[in-house]
């Protein structure tokens, strides 16, 4: 029996889990939850995910939601298979956790509303908050400078190997790079751009983009 992932393959949070599955060579089945018709808010899905979001997983009797918790569970369960995403020693694992938490508290808090306003709202015919987006871009520039500095002396965020700390950024980065201004901000930061080009060249990313219809 393969793990079932409930979600939409083009959405960032399911993509985080899919990248983990691809890096760890784990077989999976995607059960499409249609975000355009708000299927994620319907009673059947709320039983899987009480906040009405995607993804959720079912693996036999085991059920989980929150993409970062799901990715971590599978990275731990299949530690000896595929890419080591969690770090090799207690101290290395702590550094991986640190930069993964930076994604939650500094990167996603800016990337998410930027993507909502510049990509999702236009699709839904809603008005973008232009003032907010400009403020967010300034803050993002400051954060990207910190990342750029980190990546000038480290190949990846947690050191010399690709880990969950890098993976967790990728879905939002994919969206951000499709926005011209942000694309330029990234390219203007040499080390950060080098990192993005390297991680988006990984087979897992390329397979994900095919799954997502690109």
């Amino acid at each position: 029996m393969v793990v079932k992932l409930y979600g939409q393959v083009t959405a960032a949070c399911p993509q985080r889990v899919l990248l983990c599955f691809l890096e760890k060579e784990i077989e999976f089945e995607i059960i499409h939850i249609d975000l355009d018709t708000l299927e994620q808010k319907k009673p059947e899905h709320l039983l899987r995910q009480p906040f009405g979001q995607v993804p959720a997983i079912e693996d036999g009797d085991f059920k989980l939601f929150e993409s970062r918790a799901i990715a971590r569970y599978y990275a731990t369960k299949y530690a000896d298979q595929g890419t080591n995403l969690l770090g090799k020693s207690l101290e290395h694992r702590a550094i991986v956790d640190q930069w993964a938490d930076v994604e939650t508290h500094y990167f996603n808090t800016l990337a998410h509303p930027i993507v909502i306003n510049l990509i999702i709202k236009p699709r839904l015919g809603e008005k973008c908050d232009v003032v907010l987006v400009e403020e967010l871009k300034v803050k993002l520039g400051v954060v990207l400078d910190i990342y750029n500095n980190r990546l000038s002396s480290n190949r990846f965020l947690a050191g010399e190997e690709f880990t969950m700390a890098d993976l967790t950024h990728m879905p939002a980065m994919g969206y951000l790079m499709s926005i011209t201004d942000i694309n330029q901000m990234v390219k203007a930061r040499g080390s950060f751009n080098r990192w993005w080009e390297e991680i988006s060249d990984r087979p897992s990313w390329k397979k994900l983009m095919v799954l997502a219809g690109h």
């Binding site: 929150e66 918790a69 569970y73 731990t76 207690l90 702590a94 640190q98 930076v102 939650t104």
Partner: protein, 217 residues
């Protein structure tokens, strides 16, 4: 272990709670937040984002309070409270799940309220009532999910206290000082859970340091 920060910071308190739960000795190295010492180069070399806490343990320097608590909980897994359910991978995943819920759903809403009612006045500004109202509504919806969950389990991740509960404590303590404590008190399961968290010895050691109060409500 050295923790750099100030006891009144919720993020620092998160780490102190974990250290006390694990009966681990530590030294708190004060960082004067009012004098912005957390923005000085000496601190930025530990945390480039300029926020407390930072941890030093031998050669390791760490920032992000929840990465620090995970490190302490794993390093000292065999003593004190079992904060991660590490012996069972599925239970450990459920701890991570509810820790993610705190980080992504609970914290942004409660922090926005605390920021307006406690931090902003300290900076000489007036709270933005619209931000408070919007985030109280979001927090209420999150607490509805918690109310249902805590009707099934004693703690968020199951029947024992874990990091998933601990991470909530400092900002909830500050929130209960505001006039909006009803959001907790009006939900019987959430209220019982909160009262239980406040009865723990580690909480009684850390809460006296959480000294700031709302100047307006």
């Amino acid at each position: 272990m050295k923790v750099y920060g100030d006891e009144m910071s919720a993020s620092v308190a998160r780490v102190l709670l974990c250290l006390h739960e694990k009966n681990t000795e530590f030294e708190l190295v004060p960082v004067n937040l009012f004098a912005c010492h957390h923005k000085l180069p000496s601190f930025l070399s530990m945390n480039p984002f300029g926020q407390v806490p930072a941890l030093q343990d031998d050669d390791l320097t760490l920032f992000e309070s929840r990465a620090i608590t995970a490190y302490i909980a794993e390093k000292h897994r065999d003593k004190g409270t079992d904060l991660t359910r590490h012996e069972n991978s599925k239970e450990a995943a459920i701890v991570k799940l509810w820790s993610e819920v705190e980080a992504h759903h609970f914290n942004p809403a409660i922090f926005a309220v605390i920021n307006q009612l406690i931090v902003v006045p300290l900076q000489g500004e007036s709270p933005d009532a619209a931000i408070v109202e919007k985030n109280l509504e979001k927090l209420g919806k999150v607490l509805d999910v918690y109310e249902e969950r805590l009707g099934k389990t004693k703690y968020l991740a199951g029947d024992t206290y874990t990091l998933a509960d601990l991470h909530h404590v400092p900002y909830t303590y500050y929130f209960m000082k505001t006039s909006h404590a009803g959001l907790i008190n009006d939900r019987p399961n959430v209220k019982a859970w909160w009262e239980d968290l406040c009865s723990r010895p580690a909480f009684l050691k850390v809460s006296p340091g959480l000294t700031v109060s709302p100047t307006t409500n």
